[in-house]
């Protein structure tokens, strides 16, 4: 695993994620209400939680990669963040009235998405080691990817995909779209794992005592 300093940084990411995503979730929690109050249109804090929790998950996953480390340690951090956020997503699933199948489907996608960003962060972190450069690159990439995938390559947009999972419509009508999203992420992740592993091997050979 990582050093104490790195884990302290990761821990602030875990806690920060839970606090930032938790605030809209707490506001979105429904209370028993009369029907006439419920049918009145209002801003859905549930949607706000969905967007914040998804975007932050990608951002923190990328941060894990930027800090460097082995594939195993980077992916373990992403998985740990996913597990820590599990109570949130469970509560959110209850708010929108869906079951375990949709929760697992959405988390599967989110995990894959975060893992891709985390592994993408590894070479970026090595190429631009300064924090300020990493900051600029991280958010530029995230914004570019999120905005672009609203128009092209939509199966790679986590907000669209999670909106489908936690949305109102039947999923069977969108199964092609969903399948494309999972397959795309799986392929990207496979390539990134292979490439990162190759780089790790090369670095090991390069750094080995002659």
């Amino acid at each position: 695993m990582r050093s104490r300093l790195e884990l302290a940084h990761s821990w602030s990411a875990f806690t920060g994620y839970l606090i930032l995503a938790g605030i809209p979730l707490l506001i979105a929690l429904p209370s028993s209400a009369r029907v006439d109050e419920l049918v009145t249109p209002r801003l859905s804090m549930g949607s706000v939680f969905l967007v914040i929790a998804t975007v932050l998950f990608a951002a923190y996953s990328l941060s894990f990669g930027l800090k460097g480390g082995t594939i195993k340690s980077v992916l373990a951090h992403v998985l740990f963040l996913l597990v820590l956020s599990l109570p949130y997503w469970t509560v959110f699933t209850g708010i929108v009235g869906h079951g375990l199948d949709r929760l697992l489907g959405a988390l599967g996608y989110l995990g894959l998405y975060g893992a891709c960003w985390a592994l993408l962060g590894v070479p970026i972190g090595k190429r631009w080691p300064t924090e300020i450069a990493q900051f600029h690159i991280k958010y530029a990439l995230l914004i570019l990817a999120l905005v672009t995938t609203f128009f092209v390559l939509q199966p790679l947009n986590p907000i669209l995909m999670l909106s489908l999972w936690f949305g109102e419509g039947p999923l069977y009508e969108q199964r092609g779209f969903l399948l494309m999203g999972y397959l795309s992420l799986a392929i990207i992740l496979g390539i990134l794992v292979w490439w990162t592993a190759r780089e790790e091997d090369r670095a090991r050979v390069r750094d080995a005592p002659r």
Binding site: G22, V39, P87
Partner: protein
């Protein structure tokens, strides 16, 4: 040989043509005498010819209205080969500008499409029908034969008044009789012109005799006039409406919300004004169900409990960071806590108390009037989550409502008549939306009572109990308690109380229902309540939480 081959080919071609021939909608007739009242159920007769192979098809009727939800009626049909079918059903024509569309389809798609223009056929006021009239009143009357009288009470919805002339009531079939009685109970006005028509009208079957305001009717000539007048013994509830020169010329007999007028001569007396017909049902009737649904509280998992648990979890995660960074490894036990917490939260949120996907309220008024039990049900549903919904409704008429007090979804609605005679209502409920329906049916009376001095004999043939029943006699209320399901019993009439005292015993919901639909007259015999969902004509669907309340009113002579 060549000729045989050619004939063979012709025969094959003919057979193929027959097989490929599509069913056709030959004609569509609507209304009574070609006229209809907008928004009321209108009888529609569709003539279908099938020259091809036997087919299972669906007949669909709809109207593309500019406003409001699209309502469709479906009916499955089995078309035999080389047959012609005439299918009759009732459909509410809501727009007078959009044509009525009738489509025949099967699994492969649309087979036939018929468009019926309705612009020239509508009437501003309820229709007035005339049967075998010799002397016509100065009104716009649609003449029809007895055989053309509707067989369903719903077909009468656009009819306000019927003049009955020289026609034998014995020619009315059992179905037509039921429909006519239902129409009367719901507010219809039957005017029987007797006089010389009496020879044809009498002797009449018992059901007809019971409708008339007088018994033992017979014709007389008065003061040496040539005109025949009817005389008879007025029934207890009948009243004389006009009596020039001291002789009754017209009697009235109330039947439910409607009435039967009997005129002693075969001419409508000019001195007796007829009220202008209007659509009887005021829209305010529907507001109560909207108010009841609006005030329904939808239970949710405790916001405070979940909030505190999540905050505590974040605190634990934050604090555990101290030990985690000291050991320089990810604390997997924290992952275990997160998993356990998730399982607990999931179980709590999906518990039985919060599992309903839709919450509904149903209110009903069951009026047992003479030969029929007239039942009206208002149904309001709140969809907590979006879902395709399918309701099975055992009623004669179903209509979508927009009460106005709550925004109602504008999504379409499909009514499908099943083989069992029930309706299957298909609709899509959006998340946090409401829908309203009204169902009506007429049944044989299932509760009877006989007041006998200081006791009342009751017979309840329904599978549900009538609760907190009250007998009404001579201006006083008598507590009868619960009348069990399928039971016959005798209860004493003791401890009379006033109406004000009785009203104080009602719950808020019952009082609201009584104030809206309750009515007290000298004909009222019993008031009771049912809260059992088995009394509902609207089937409960999985994931539905429904509260129901029905008012039972028994009236009699």
């Amino acid at each position: 040989m060549r000729r045989i081959g050619a004939w063979g080919l012709v025969m094959v071609a003919l057979a193929a043509t027959c097989g490929l021939a599509q069913p056709q909608i030959e004609n569509v007739e609507l209304g009574l005498g070609g006229r209809f009242l907008p928004k009321a159920f209108t009888p529609i007769v569709v003539s279908i010819r099938n020259d091809g192979i036997p087919r299972s098809v669906v007949l669909e009727i709809f109207q593309r209205a500019e406003r409001g939800s699209l309502e469709r009626v479906h009916r499955s049909l089995a078309l035999g080969p080389q047959t012609r079918q005439h299918l009759s059903l009732d459909f509410p024509i809501k727009s007078v500008s959009a044509p009525l569309e009738i489509v025949l389809r099967d699994a492969t798609g649309e087979l036939a499409h018929f468009t019926k223009d309705v612009r020239q056929s509508w009437s501003e006021s309820p229709l007035t029908l005339g049967i075998a009239l010799q002397q016509r009143p100065p009104l716009a009357i649609i003449d029809i034969e007895i055989e053309e009288l509707p067989k369903r009470w719903t077909s009468y919805e656009g009819v306000g008044r019927i003049f009955w002339g020289r026609a034998d009531p014995a020619r009315v079939s059992a179905e037509q009789r039921w429909a006519l009685q239902g129409w009367l109970v719901r507010g219809g006005e039957l005017i029987v012109l007797s006089g010389t028509n009496w020879h044809e009208q009498s002797p009449a079957p018992p059901w007809w005799e019971e409708l008339l305001p007088i018994a033992e009717g017979h014709l007389v000539r008065r003061n040496g006039q040539e005109i025949f007048w009817l005389e008879g013994k007025p029934r207890p509830q009948a009243k004389v409406m006009l009596s020039p020169q001291g002789y009754p010329l017209a009697w009235e007999h109330p039947i439910g919300d409607g009435r039967v007028l009997l005129v002693a001569s075969d001419v409508w007396p000019e001195e007796l004004p007829l009220p202008t017909l209007s659509q009887a049902r005021p829209a305010e009737e529907d507001l109560l169900i909207a108010q009841a649904l609006a005030s329904l509280t939808i239970p949710s998992p405790s916001r405070e409990l979940i909030g505190i648990i999540l905050i505590l979890f974040v605190v634990v995660v934050g604090l555990s960071g101290v030990s985690a960074t000291r050991e320089a490894r990810l604390p997997f036990w924290l992952g275990g806590i997160a998993l356990a917490l998730s399982v607990g939260l999931y179980s709590y949120q999906h518990g039985a108390a919060f599992s309903s996907e839709k919450h509904s309220v149903e209110m009903g008024v069951i009026q047992l009037v003479g030969p029929v039990s007239r039942e009206s049900y208002w149904y309001g549903v709140f969809f907590q989550h979006s879902r395709e919904d399918s309701l099975v409704v055992a009623a004669d008429a179903i209509s979508a409502l927009s009460p106005g007090a709550l925004p109602s979804s504008q999504q379409g609605l499909v009514r499908e008549l099943t083989a069992g005679g029930e309706w299957r209502i298909s609709l899509y409920g959006e998340r946090n939306s409401t829908r309203f329906l009204k169902a009506e049916r007429l049944r044989e009376p299932w509760l009877s009572l006989r007041l006998d001095g200081s006791a009342v004999a009751l017979a309840n043939r329904a599978p549900v109990a009538v609760q907190d029943a009250i007998a009404y006699s001579a201006g006083a209320f008598y507590k009868l308690g619960t009348i069990p399901a399928q039971a016959e019993l005798v209860r004493p009439l003791s401890g009379p109380m006033s109406q004000a005292a009785w009203l104080t015993t009602l719950t808020a919901e019952r009082r609201r229902l009584w104030q809206q639909w309750g009515r007290l007259s000298h004909r009222t015999k019993l008031i009771g309540w049912i809260e059992d969902l088995r009394a509902s004509p609207i089937g409960v669907t999985p994931g539905e939480h429904r509260t129901a309340l029905y008012l039972v009113l028994v009236e009699g002579d």
